[in-house]
């Protein structure tokens, strides 16, 4: 029997596949990003539909319940995403600063 939380997770995965595809269609994501994110949502969908499929990890990692595995895995995944975003924003900021400095030098005005 499928439990409530499984239905919520499966529904969430389907909605996220749809949203991810829409972003790709509007050219806000590249094909590679689309494939990576759709893979994430498909894995989540399958893990929710067949919770016994993660029992291998649950047993070997000595985690009490499948739900705990989801929580721990989700938290670690979010930390990785935050780290990657932090590095990306930092790099982007440095590039913006370099562009603004170059433009300000190019458009420098000296009083005659």
């Amino acid at each position: 029997m499928i439990s409530g939380i499984q239905i919520v997770l499966m529904g969430f995965s389907v909605v996220m596949v749809f949203i991810t595809y829409n972003y790709y269609r509007r050219k806000n994501l590249e094909k590679r990003d689309l494939l990576i994110w759709v893979a994430v949502w498909v894995v989540l969908f399958l893990a929710a539909l067949f919770p016994q499929s993660i029992s291998f990890f649950v047993q070997n990692l000595h985690i009490e319940r499948g739900m705990d595995f989801f929580t721990i895995f989700g938290f670690v995944f979010l930390l990785i995403v935050v780290f990657v975003l932090y590095v990306t924003v930092f790099k982007m900021q440095s590039k913006i600063e370099a562009i603004i400095s170059a433009i300000s030098q190019k458009e420098k005005h000296r009083k005659k």
Binding site: E97, I100, S101, I103, S104, E107, K108, H109, K111
Partner: protein, 215 residues
């Protein structure tokens, strides 16, 4: 050569007056327009010796870096920084420059009694915290009216683009053991106060801890 760096963001009301008064005391006035949406850049081009323009607003810290680097390219030996909103009286510049002969960095210290109440608490708290963290007493860590010798710029160069640029400058100076002093300055408060408020104070306090322990 003495240069004045004036970062400006939407300051069409006071900028002309600030530039003209500042020119009497320095050799070159450098205005950095930080993506203003009003006539700031036109006024700067008309009255300042050099005008640099940021196409988008990057914050006071970034604008000051742009201005200081330009002043150093122009071979300025002393650099004065002041706000474009008319809060600082340029006639205090000679006082700052005189004090600079005995030290490397001079901070213009405002009279807290005349400061709006909401800003006074934040400034007193930040100065107290600065003393606790860096072991140096300075009454007004948030004053944007300063003079410094250009050779110390690399040592005190700040990373902050927005909040706390003034404090980071002093934190770097304290860590590098650079001599600095304070001189009292006149401050003119207009109807809209743009300085440090309570929320900024909290953010700067957290940044201060970061600069003390993690930089």
């Amino acid at each position: 050569m003495i240069a004045a760096v004036i970062p400006a963001y939407n300051e069409e009301k006071y900028l002309k007056d600030v530039i003209l008064k500042t020119r009497k005391f320095v050799d070159k006035v450098i205005v950095v327009d930080d993506g203003s949406k009003d006539r700031t850049v036109e006024i700067a081009k008309k009255y300042a010796d050099i005008t640099l323009h940021h196409v988008v607003n990057m914050g006071k810290g970034f604008a000051l870096r742009t201005g200081f680097e330009e002043a150093i390219r122009e071979r300025a030996s002393k650099i004065v920084m002041l706000d474009a909103d008319g809060q600082h009286d340029p006639s205090d510049i000679p006082k700052l420059l005189r004090a600079l002969s005995d030290t490397e960095l001079v901070v213009g210290s405002r009279d807290f009694e005349k400061m709006p109440l909401r800003a006074r608490f934040a400034n007193i708290f930040l100065s107290f915290l600065f003393r606790c963290l860096f072991g140096t007493r300075i009454n007004d860590t948030q004053s944007g009216f300063r003079a410094l010798k250009s050779e110390i710029y690399k040592k005190i160069k700040w990373k902050s683009n927005r909040y706390g640029v003034e404090t980071e400058m002093l934190a770097n100076a304290a860590k590098k053991k650079i001599n600095y002093s304070e001189v009292p300055i006149k401050t003119i408060y207009h109807e809209i106060y743009k300085g440090t408020n309570f929320t900024d104070g909290i953010k700067i306090a957290l940044l201060m801890a970061k600069w003390r322990f993690f930089s």
